[in-house]
């Protein structure tokens, strides 16, 4: 794992997209700090991080797109398979290298609240609490991006899919509010989402049984909930979406609530998607 980590770090510093990621993250934070902290003279650095979230939607896929796609394209993945490295070692090595890359601009950003505190009252606990949450949220988005990159050998495709998924996640709560909160509307919306999920499962696994299984389990769950307690379905969709929204959870930290549940959510996402990435690598041996 350490050999992969070292190699990845070296490669990252030779890669344009890595520098773009760090530069744009710092630019977004810089603009945010200008708008909120300097122009509007707000002491809360958390608002800047909230402002940067939409930027993450684009720059994290740019960072993660090449991780596995490029190996596949250059056929260097064959080297990784032939070397005495385990699939989990490869994935973790690459993932930790990405975290280091993300940590560098975050460390620079960490100076901002200290600077602002020289000029007035800054609630440092809130600033650094949400900065920690910001980093963990970014880490979970990176895990998703790594998984998407492991599915294709086309970097652009990997970035595109990740951006679309992150955008949907970013706007999911607001979009779900447009759908009727009544029982019928919720059922229809959930059924559509279920079909979409089954389609994604099919695209990823190329296994029709897995897709049917996913749809069937979801449908059974939906029917059971409907039969047991119809009223539970009301307002279920917005509630569900805000539970699954990376960003909505982060806004909780911005509002000053350090929610351990959300941290657990992010960590679960990280473990889940890294696990899927390992499976995706192992599966390639069988093709």
């Amino acid at each position: 794992m350490t050999s992969v980590l070292k190699h990845e770090l070296r490669t990252h510093f030779h890669t344009l997209s890595t520098w773009l990621f760090m530069a744009f993250l710092l630019i977004f934070v810089g603009i945010g700090a200008m708008l909120y902290n300097i122009q509007s003279a707000v002491a809360n650095f958390e608002y800047v991080l909230k402002f940067v979230c939409i930027g993450l939607v684009v720059i994290i896929p740019v960072l993660t797109m090449r991780v596995f796609a490029e190996e596949k394209k250059q056929k260097t993945d064959q080297l990784l398979y032939a070397l005495p490295l385990s699939a989990s070692g490869i994935v973790l090595g690459k993932y930790f290298a990405l975290l280091v890359i993300f940590l560098i601009p975050t460390a620079i950003i960490a100076v901002y609240p200290l600077i602002f505190s020289k000029f007035g009252e800054v609630y440092l606990l809130g600033s650094y609490g949400s900065m920690l949450a910001f980093f963990i949220m970014g880490a979970s988005l990176i895990a998703v991006g790594v998984f998407i990159s492991s599915l294709t050998e086309n970097q652009g495709f990997a970035a595109g899919i990740a951006i679309v998924l992150f955008l949907l996640n970013y706007f999911s709560v607001r979009l779900s509010e447009y759908i009727s909160t009544g029982v019928a509307g919720t059922i229809i919306a959930l059924a559509v989402l279920l079909l979409a999920l089954a389609a994604i499962v099919y695209v990823l696994t190329k296994n029709s049984n897995a897709a049917y299984g996913t749809a069937a389990i979801g449908a059974v769950g939906l029917i059971v909930v409907y039969l047991v307690d119809k009223s539970k379905l009301e307002n279920l969709l917005p509630a569900l979406m805000s539970k699954l929204s990376f960003f909505e959870r982060f806004y909780g930290f911005v509002d000053g609530v350090f929610d351990i549940g959300s941290i657990v959510f992010y960590l679960t996402v990280i473990i889940f998607f890294l696990f899927l990435t390992v499976q995706s690598l192992e599966k390639r041996r069988y093709n």
Binding site: T2, T11, D77, L79, P84
Partner: protein, 322 residues
């Protein structure tokens, strides 16, 4: 050293490797021959753990490639068909990564890198970007990577492709030298190459093993088919008459064709041991008749013919089976 048992590999519905079994001993050079699409690369990929077999078992130095993959892979150095190189690195950086991944550290790592750089002759390009190297040098960096860590088994998939003639000779010598202390398996399309450096040859066709023997023994298969070719300045009848007299005691199934207006081509099959005597007798026969022989050659068994014959047989049996 390597044991392959009943190996099968399907790509979807396509059977790429069909019930392949063989065993490879220690310290020797093995050639892997087969026409395109015979399953050579697939087999090599399975032995090195890059690909999983649909059925069957592979063990390297006693370690099962699926059950103890890390131990088994430690014993193998592998150069795939496309050398897996990071284009944006220098050979030295690249070799450092591979060495570290193989578990080498510190002084040992430095020594190993120096020794493979020297062995493969890439000293002059060690600080240039791999993307800027010629195909031949890239191939050598790929070979250097396989040799790092002094693995017991070295598997090279078409190592001489893209090299110039001098480089080919250098790489062949290197493979020969490695064969003294390692087990080397390499695939190739060039039969003369296999003939000169391999102690044993595996020929596969249509995913099946059709031959596994020394090049000499394989040639013996063909030796019944040695023949003497000659061109004689003579009319067809004259030549016919001379030969029928000559073969009156032991009739032989020779072929006689007209080459042009004043000469004929003759092909006479003969056992390898008899060819010399036959040539002498034929010389005196035609000299006595005042018919000059303008050309005389002996057609010998070659690995090439064995290869063509064996792979064609397998292709035919496949057609008749389906």
């Amino acid at each position: 050293m390597i044991k392959v048992e009943h190996l099968k590999k399907y790509y979807g519905d396509f059977l790429a490797v069909n019930d392949l079994s063989f065993e490879i001993g220690e310290g020797s050079v093995y050639g892997f021959l087969g026409p395109n699409g015979a399953g050579k690369s697939t087999t090599m990929n399975i032995i090195t753990g890059c690909l999983s077999p649909t059925e069957g078992k592979v063990s390297v130095a006693g370690f099962d490639i699926l059950e103890e993959p890390l131990q088994a892979r430690k014993k193998i150095g592998y150069l795939p068909e496309h050398p897996p190189l990071y284009q944006q690195e220098t050979p030295e950086e690249y070799l450092r990564f591979v060495g570290e991944a193989k578990g080498l550290r510190g002084d040992k790592l430095r020594e190993e890198i120096e020794s493979v750089i020297e062995m493969t002759g890439i000293e002059s390009v060690r600080d240039r970007l791999i993307s800027a190297l010629s195909k031949g040098y890239q191939q050598r960096v790929g070979i250097a990577q396989a040799l790092l860590g002094d693995p017991e088994v070295i598997i090279l998939d078409e190592p001489t492709v893209g090299l110039d003639p001098i480089q080919i000779i250098e790489i062949r010598d290197l493979i020969k030298k490695l064969g003294e202390s390692h087990t080397v398996i390499f695939s190739s399309h060039i039969l003369s190459e296999v003939q000169t450096i391999c102690e044993k040859v595996l020929i596969i066709a249509g995913g099946e093993l059709v031959a596994f023997d020394t090049p000499e023994n394989l040639e013996k298969l063909e030796q019944a088919k040695t023949a003497v070719h000659l061109t004689v300045s003579a009319g067809k009848e004259e030549a016919e008459q001379a030969l029928s007299e000559f073969f009156s005691e032991n009739p032989t199934d020779y072929q006689l064709t007209e080459a042009d207006e004043e000469s004929v081509n003759i092909r006479i099959p003969a056992a390898e041991a008899d060819t010399k005597a036959l040539c002498r007798d034929l010389f005196f026969l035609f000299a006595g008749k005042n018919l000059p022989i303008t050309e005389m050659t002996t057609e010998r068994a070659s690995l090439e013919k064995v290869f063509v014959e064996l792979t064609e047989q397998s292709a035919e049996s496949e057609v008749s089976a389906s």
